[in-house]
Symmetry: C2
Subunit: 195 residues, 2 copies
Amino acid sequence: MPRTSDPTRNRILDAANCLFYAEGIRAVSVDAVAGAAGLTKRTLYYHFTSKDDLIAAYLQSRDQPNLALFAKWFNDEGGTVADRVEAIFTHLAKAARHKKWKGCGFLRTAAELANMPGHPAIKIGSAHKKKFETWLADILATTGLVEPLLLARQVVLLMDGAFSVMLVHRDASYIEAAGKAAATLVRASEIRNVG
Amino acid sequence: MPRTSDPTRNRILDAANCLFYAEGIRAVSVDAVAGAAGLTKRTLYYHFTSKDDLIAAYLQSRDQPNLALFAKWFNDEGGTVADRVEAIFTHLAKAARHKKWKGCGFLRTAAELANMPGHPAIKIGSAHKKKFETWLADILATTGLVEPLLLARQVVLLMDGAFSVMLVHRDASYIEAAGKAAATLVRASEIRNVG
DNA sequence: TTGTGTATACTCACTGCTTAGTATACTTTT
DNA sequence: AAAAGTATACTAAGCAGTGAGTATACACAA
């Protein structure tokens, strides 16, 4: 049984990450991933039991890095909580202007696998989104805002809306509009708390 | 050249609508659509030039019905504009609890075709979303709210966020949270206008 | 130190199936 | 007869997954 730190396994995951994110899950064959990783399909099947297994592992490998990036964007910002939440969107809009940007891998995979609700990859996506929501709710609660759970959820909805709408319009100003909305909601929560 | 009102063409579109929405674009073969429509693939190719053409026609056929439904949900509701906007989300949440519900066909198609930015189906999706945004902005402007364009866009972002997040969590309370956020934003816009 | 056993990590070649799209011919309608 | 519409049967390519075998490395016994 190959170990998690296996360099070959990681090479396959890197290739899967590139291809699945760039082209989509169903559009990329196992052969293509193996080829990009510089080995044969049979070897890939030595490290992963199936394509579904590979898809799940691909998303799992994106969980921590993505969360860390959002946290960094928030933490590097000064000002009020509203400002710092909006900063996440500002950085997202910047990233989204790059040509290779194709939205959120978790959401796109869930959309593609909408006919398989119990798919392992969707569960991993669900856990990932929940982690972000909880992280944000904790921050909002610590700041003393009212209804931090609801507020965090609403910010998440704006963020995921921005991810999705971008794939339709390819216009990063939507992400900035979402950021403004998030800031408005946070400030409304501040006001309600003070008053 | 077959006409738009062709009953056979519509039968194919109905089948495409059911299958593409239920299973996804790439997961459904042209054969499957033809079979569900009760005819052979060759006949389908007489009415549509390619699978991409069929996909685009499928989304085009959903444009007006979907917009009409949202308008009905809004118009049937009494109360303030905020209440009526929130009503759209409430109805959406109700629809989303059905097992067959699989989110927004336009967004899911855009997510699946994220590697083909210029695809006709994505352009149709873009036009559809723009129409809804414009319809809402007109209402908000007529009501005398400040920045109706931005506000309409933010409501759209919440709605599309709700569509997408639902595919990950399968929890309709997210749609209600989005509705509350939309109402909060609309009311914040009212307040700013009055003050 | 040489030989034997074994697990790891890999490749080549393949199966069985599905795919989008087409060449050709038949039927029905006008 | 001519045109529209449909079916049968096909091509050529791609797909996920597998059977069978190989190179390497490392363990341990003689």
